[in-house]
Symmetry: C2
Subunit: 339 residues, 2 copies
């Protein structure tokens, strides 16, 4: 490993001068700067970020909070995986590296995101998806570490989130346009900070209201999970109360598929007897029979905008509290037009 002292010795300058040449700071003469840079190049010098970080307090490290307890899909999660892929390429182009932040770190019993961030000296963090225990995110929001969130709306943390309400509205409009009036809604849980399920419902309601229709309570089913099994049991519950619905908006494709499977078992044909709209555009959704009509969240745009927000915070430019990103509606074969 070659250091600035090696370069200093070789060129006859002092270490601080070498440092300034390398960083383009300080009023060095063009000549010395050139000589130092040339030697550095020849000697194959590369800086030690650890030492630099220690003295400047800037690590060029961005922490990633990425968990998926809940869908258990890890990096293959239909939204989070895609966001991370694009976020990584953006951040690397800006000269930062990505490090995973957890609530634990080996035997040093770190027990919070903030602590792990301090430990590693990260400059900022992107919250792609946190654990269920939001107290640790609140703690992070209150710290002085710049953050951005791509899924949750937490006070004090700028967010870039899919415009769920508009998507819900679009789903409603589409179903109504296709002649459906008795519509059901199924979704997983939401909480104070993660409200996608509620927002999609609000949008759906707005569309129905606009057309003087109603979403009856008995046609709404909320589960704690967002799994296929949850979709199945939600559908079962709805059909046990009410069999005259003609369409279902499911808040994710997983649940849609569980629900459609149940309908088929129940003796209903999809979409002849009952239509479906999902959410997420999982890569299996085009292959399900019938191919599922759904929404694709704009993962790339979410990643780009959140990276921009982080970088702006790092240079002190004010940022918006929350940017909503439209989802793309993908029409396939799971909705039937009824006259």
């Amino acid at each position: 490993m070659i250091t600035i002292y090696d370069i200093a010795k070789k060129t006859g300058y002092s270490a601080p001068t070498v440092s300034k040449a390398l960083n383009g700071t300080g009023g060095l003469s063009p000549e010395t700067r050139r000589k130092i840079l040339k030697s550095a190049e020849e000697m194959g010098y590369s800086p030690n970020m650890t030492a630099r970080a220690l003295s400047t307090k800037k690590s060029y490290l961005i922490g990633i909070i990425f968990e998926d307890l809940y869908m258990q899909r890890g990096f293959e999660h239909p939204l989070f995986g895609g966001v991370l892929t694009k976020f990584r390429s953006e951040v690397e182009a800006s000269g930062y590296d990505l490090i995973f932040i957890s609530t634990s770190f080996g035997d040093t019993k770190v027990n919070s995101y903030v602590e792990h961030c301090k430990l590693r000296n990260v400059d900022a963090v992107v919250i792609i998806n946190p654990l269920d225990d939001y107290s640790k995110i609140i703690e992070l929001a209150k710290s002085d570490i710049p953050c951005v969130s791509t899924n949750d709306l937490v006070p004090g943390i700028p967010a870039v989130i899919t415009d769920n309400e508009s998507a819900g509205f679009d789903a409603g409009e589409f179903l109504i346009k296709n002649g459906h009036t008795k519509i059901a809604y199924i979704a997983g849980s939401s909480n104070e900070y993660s409200q996608a399920a509620d927002e999609r419902l609000t949008g759906l309601r707005r569309a129905l209201t606009k057309h003087n229709l109603q979403l009856e309570d008995k046609n709404i089913e909320r589960c704690s999970l967002w799994t296929r099994e949850a979709g199945e049991s939600a559908m079962k519950n709805i059909l046990s109360r009410n069999t005259d619905i003609t369409a279902v908006f499911a808040a994710n494709d997983n649940m849609a598929i569980g629900a459609m499977n149940y309908c088929k078992q129940f003796g209903l044909k999809v979409p002849e007897d009952i239509s479906f709209v999902g959410f997420d555009d999982e890569n299996f959704s085009e292959f399900y029979q019938p191919a599922l009509t759904t929404f694709s969240q704009n993962r790339k745009l979410i990643a780009e905008l959140s990276e921009e927000i982080l970088m702006n915070q790092l240079i002190g430019v004010p940022v918006k509290d929350c940017i909503r990103v439209p989802a793309d509606f993908i029409v396939r074969d799971s909705v039937r037009k009824i006259c």
Copy 2:
């Protein structure tokens, strides 16, 4: 931020003594150790890994090489995403953090994995999938940085890889058992370091030979990519030469689906007229019509074993050059039994 000097001042001991207490090193009296630990706890001390790394040369950082130029699926890649998910949890339990390593780093024109590793002082690196330019991996293999690879076989780097040949053999046996004798093979490219496609072919050949059958050259199609489109054109080429094959082993599900789509277009029914076995068990494969018979690579085991190999290298325990991990065969509906 509170440092060991703060603890030193508060307890009346020196910084080195505090350091020793915190690390459990040096022959401190139980009493001082207890007092220092207690104060550290009370003051909410957490160590600065950057400073520690600078003085010890140990960062507790594992570099991840993860690219997917080739399938363009990023973290959603059917093999790599799952390996990374599990690898991360293993490594974190061992007290290490994960950082992404690229061939570039901002304006400091880092241009190699080794350089990026030195920059960040990583203790070891896991190669989940590199870029096509293997010279940079060779350079890494020659460096003194401990590595493990989960997909490629590079001299000097221990590897944990799916037992592709056995899987190919199993695919062959299964097809033969179901009465197929005219079998085709389609796959993407391979190279010196990444030989999955060749290995699967070797296994298939071995099964055929065992039963005195032959895999004719005109029934083998190799593409540069592993995409759906590649599968489609491979199938087209084979059918243009020879229409009496009854089964195809495709080296990944993507290609299998492209090929099946082409067959359908061509007027062949799957599996009535032509049977298929794929590889990877993508999450859409169960939904394709017919549901695809395929292999699932054991991502969790690959991750566990490779983490173990890395940790062993870190403590100087000798490790194996290459461990092969069996893939699970998943029988669905895409192979027909012909009498």
